[in-house]
């Protein structure tokens, strides 16, 4: 294997590793077969595993996720692709009403081991209906696990955990990260869901980020470091389970908290992180908490306009500076 791998290729590699070790893993989705997916995240799977395990579907989001659920209820481990995360709305019934409730409402009789993969977030100039960061939609639903890796190694390790999970997982692949590169992880690499990573150590402020906000937070930390402010950066990696222990432990060192979210302030995951801190870690804080988030608008098309409404390095740096001076 090459010594670097893209985030995009890591998706296909992560799925392939699981398909090799478990015959019950099957893929379905639009254009995922010979075409390799519109984001080229399933390249090679059709060739290696054939049409009996990699199934092209019609444009039928309800049927894709509903059929994945039926297959998961009956002994398979389907990996369904919903092309853009905005389209989760077309099959929202399955994510909000069917998949996450069936175990509970049947008194634990059934399990739904499936993964719904989807390309999330802005940054590629696709306009309002193909650019949203929708991980917070899923966060409102009890019964869904939510993964959102930031690096190629995590893509592979978290796909392994998601596909092996007996619980349903919504797996957000960030569009703006697809071309990023990293070291390919060794065989058997597994990143358990619910384990955040401290990706930069620092004693002055904790930045909590997810997916494409992780490299952004790291860039902000570099800028701040030049000003003598050392930021600790946490990559949450999954929203459910949520690793609040790592956040609280970091706060006990830094005493200042900023969340960096692509989703809008209203209902964003940072609100949950912050409320846990307010409940259980208030005494650790020496300053108010800050949330850098997207604005509550549909994503505009022009890059310059998009910059106005999503978190940027500058916005993070400004928020931290104010806190440091508090």
């Amino acid at each position: 294997m090459a010594d670097v791998i893209t985030y995009r290729d890591a998706v296909a590699e992560g799925i392939a590793r699981e398909m090799r070790r478990d015959a019950s893993v099957v893929c379905l989705g639009e254009d995922i077969g010979a075409a390799g997916g519109v984001f080229k995240t399933t390249v090679g799977l059709h060739k290696e595993f054939g049409p009996g395990r990699v199934w092209d579907t019609p444009i039928s989001e309800q049927a894709i996720v509903g059929a994945a659920m039926g297959a998961a209820l009956t002994g398979m481990r389907p990996v369904a692709e919903i092309m853009f995360s905005d389209f989760l709305a077309c099959c929202w019934d399955y994510l909000a009403n069917e998949i996450p409730k069936v175990r509970y409402m049947t008194g634990g009789q059934v399990t739904v081991p499936l993964v719904v993969r989807t390309a999330n977030g802005g940054g590629l100039g696709f306009g309002a209906q193909h650019s949203q960061a929708t991980e917070n939609w899923a966060l409102t639903v009890p019964g869904l696990k939510i993964a959102a890796p930031a690096t190629p190694a995590d893509v592979i390790g978290m796909l392994a955990a998601a596909i092996r999970s007996d619980d349903p997982v919504v797996f957000f692949e960030h569009k703006a990260l697809l071309a990023t590169k990293g070291t390919p992880p060794p065989p058997g690499h597994l990143v358990e869901l619910g384990r955040a990573a401290v990706v930069r150590e620092g004693a002055d402020v904790t930045l909590v980020a997810l997916a494409s906000m992780v490299p952004l937070a790291l860039r902000a930390a570099d800028v701040l470091s030049g000003e003598g402010i050392e930021a600790e950066v946490i990559d949450l990696r999954s929203l459910v389970p949520l690793d609040t222990a790592t956040v609280l432990a970091s706060l006990s060192r830094t005493s200042r908290l900023v969340t960096v979210e692509e989703n809008p302030y209203q209902g964003g995951w940072g609100a949950t992180v912050v409320s846990v801190v307010a409940d259980e870690g208030f005494g650790l804080l020496d300053a108010p908490v800050r949330r850098v988030t997207g604005e509550c608008v549909p994503l505009p098309f022009a890059d310059a306009l998009e910059e106005q409404v999503v978190p940027t390095v500058d916005k993070v740096v400004t928020a931290v500076r104010r806190l440091a001076a508090y």
Partner: protein, 325 residues
């Protein structure tokens, strides 16, 4: 159907009818909460189809699903206990009337979002294909569900993947309160649409348990042989209103009368007589059904309430509900 098979089917229908009556009465006595959607009058579809299915076939149903659960292995006692919020309920009192499920016998659930379970049945049939079993998946649904997008997505996907799935529409002429004919572009809401997906769409007298069993048997054999899905539209009528809140005053008296005369239990009795099964054997079946349901009512009433800790179990595969570390 063999005489013995028909008598057993009759008895199963009698059990369902009595269980439905019990659900109705227990609701009036305040022992069943929420709402119920009774299927009295539609028993022949569940029982006829079951008679033609293998024990390991999969069934998916709607909120009007008592009859399917009972036809596919759930006991009146566990169903009534579920309706009465008892610890011994089929879903440990976490499902209720609209979600009767018995996974162990392939009754993979009752879903209360209209039409939502059709793609699940497609997925179960796909899974059967992938695993190389000859299992079939059956989705039972109402006429109203045929105007939901998931119905159309399901028929198409099942057809292009040639999956062993049967779509069985229980056309009881009404959605909640609106006649299906008033809001549907074709006279046969399910069967007329099937040809658009390149699959057979048949109509059957849904109150005739023998006719249902024959039609399902034929379409099931075809699907198992690899010839793909089919739609069966079973004409029927619900004896009660849509749900507990509905006295069904919108139905013309002579329509109700006509359908009550075409009762599935009466029809089955007629067929039994034709096969030479005496009135005595039928009376014995009725008596067994009565006794089973009576015992079920008493047992459910005597069962304890659920352990309150149950509220925080079964969200995740580890049995718990924790969302954070």
């Amino acid at each position: 159907m063999e005489p013995a098979g028909l008598l057993a089917a009759y008895e199963r229908m009698a059990v369902i009818r009595r269980t439905e009556k019990a659900a109705h009465d227990l609701f009036l006595h305040g022992l069943v909460k929420g709402t119920t959607h009774l299927a009295a009058g539609q028993e022949a579809i569940a029982v006829g189809a079951s008679a033609a299915l293998r024990p390991d076939d999969y069934v998916f149903a709607t909120y009007r699903g008592h009859h399917h659960a009972l036809a596919r292995g759930a006991t009146p006692e566990e169903c009534l206990a579920e309706l009465m919020s008892r610890a011994t309920g089929l879903c440990r009192a976490k499902g209720g009337s609209m979600h009767l499920t018995k996974a162990a016998t392939g009754m993979l659930g009752s879903y209360a979002i209209v039409g939502s379970h059709l793609p699940m049945a497609v997925g179960a049939a796909w899974s059967a294909r992938l695993r190389g079993t000859e299992q079939l998946a059956v989705a039972f649904f109402g006429d109203g569900a045929t105007n939901i997008g998931a119905f159309h997505e399901s028929l198409n996907l099942a057809a292009v993947w040639k999956l062993p799935v049967l779509f069985v529409c229980e056309n009881n002429l009404y959605m909640e309160y609106t006649p299906i004919a008033d809001v549907t572009a074709v006279p046969r809401p399910a069967a007329d649409r099937a040809p658009a997906y390149g699959i057979p769409g048949e109509v059957v007298d849904g109150n005739d348990v023998v006719a249902v069993a024959e039609a399902v048997g034929r379409l099931a054999a075809r699907a198992r042989a690899g010839d793909g899905p089919a739609v069966l539209e079973a004409e029927t009528y619900r004896h009660f209103g849509h749900s507990r809140a509905d006295p069904a005053t919108y139905r013309p008296a002579e329509e109700v009368e006509r359908w009550l005369k075409h009762d599935p239990l009466d029809l089955a009795r007629g067929r039994l007589a034709e096969l030479g099964i005496g009135a005595e054997a039928v009376a014995e079946a009725d008596e067994r059904a009565r006794a089973v349901v009576e015992r079920a009512i008493e047992a459910a009433k005597a069962a304890p309430p659920p352990d309150l800790r149950e509220a925080l179990t079964d969200v995740w595969a580890d049995g718990g509900a924790a969302w954070r570390t």
